[in-house]
């Protein structure tokens, strides 16, 4: 039951893109076409879940016992960068078809703030899913990370669909490109506000 609350809350109520503004660069940058949006979402989903698992272990088994929590930012970003590189190499070897689909997005993900953001959220913020405020344990963290990245995918794919339709319309010159995309995102965020209070 608790996991269900985590999932619903991370996908709809606290959507990472539309409520927390993490990962806006790919949200505005690669949402022109539905197919690239799907590819990006898949790659982000994969990396966020894996990165959160690794950084969680790093935080509680290396940084906290050694009392060097202030190294959090540096060590997390290094681990994420190394991880992305490794995923790229492994994927190339093991599944060339998956590499074809996700490959070009992987280098971009190192500097996607959603990845570092989620990794930092799960080790710094207290959650109140189903009762007392508490820090997330390992299983909850991974579920939270996965659900968050699904939320990223949902918002991304919806938005790409909207932008594909939008491209067919005539937009005033000053609004072309990013401004109209931002205004569309605003309406989408307004729609997602309807989910608040759900959990």
């Amino acid at each position: 039951m608790e996991y269900l609350i985590i999932i619903i809350s991370a996908i709809f109520v606290n959507n990472i893109l539309l409520a927390q503004f993490l990962g806006c660069c790919p949200f505005l940058g690669v949402s022109n076409k539905l197919s690239t949006a799907v590819g990006m979402s898949g790659a982000v989903c994969f990396v966020i879940t894996l990165a959160t698992l690794v950084t969680y272990l790093l935080q509680y088994y290396v940084l906290v016992p050694l009392h060097i929590e202030f190294m959090q930012t540096i060590s997390f970003i290094l681990v994420i960068a190394a991880l992305v590189q490794m995923v790229e190499i492994v994927l190339k070897k093991v599944s060339p078809s998956l590499y074809q689909a996700l490959g070009i997005f992987l280098p971009l993900i190192t500097t996607n703030c959603a990845v570092l953001g989620v990794a930092l959220i799960v080790v710094t913020k207290e959650f109140t899913f189903g009762g007392e405020p508490h820090m997330l344990n390992l299983a909850e963290s991974v579920v939270y990370a996965f659900a968050t990245s699904v939320g990223f995918g949902v918002a991304m794919i919806l938005f790409a669909g909207l932008r594909e339709q939008l491209a067919l319309n005539k937009v005033p010159k000053a609004f072309q490109g990013i401004p109209i995309a931002l205004i569309t995102a605003s309406i989408l965020a307004l729609a997602f506000m309807g989910f608040s209070g759900l959990v």
């Binding site: 930012t73 190192t110 500097t111 996607n112 703030c113 931002l182 205004i183 605003s186 307004l190």
Partner: protein, 194 residues
Amino acid sequence: MSKLQLITKGLIKENPTFVLILGMCPTLATTTSAMNGMGMGLATLFVLVLSNMAISATAPYIPDKVRIPAYIVIIAAFVTILQFIMQAYTPAMYETLGLFIPLIVVNCIVLGRAEAFANKNSVIDSACDGLGIGIGFTLALTVLGLVREIIGSGSAFGFKFISGDGILVFVLAPGAFLALGYLIVLFRKLTDKK
């Protein structure tokens, strides 16, 4: 290009928010009020100037293949220093900006300037460039924060000038997207005429 030009080009011609459209996450998330926007802008300015200088000084010694990870480590080091300074002197602001302070590491503006400018220019020039872009970013965030604060809660820099609430949605997520969208349009209109 003179030093002054390097600084001023970040304000209008290459404004990171309104023209280059970089660093959207902190722009949208922290501008719930003019004060918060300015705080975030100044924090980024601090990291940008110092990382630009450090990267420009060390660039000749960093092998080309590992330059991006090396830049990220340099930037992360300055962000950690910034975290300590803010915790010590502006704890309230540190609390409000929260997650977005460590996230300066992955702000595309900082890495973008390192890659596009600092690694092939002198230390002084890089510092000027960082200062210009940083001031441009701070101004943009302050303006966006001011607009959202005026419409959203009827106050400016914390001084309330109407009683009651404003249009609350402008302080929430949809308002951020909407306000920034219209501000970019306005900025384009104004700079087009010149």
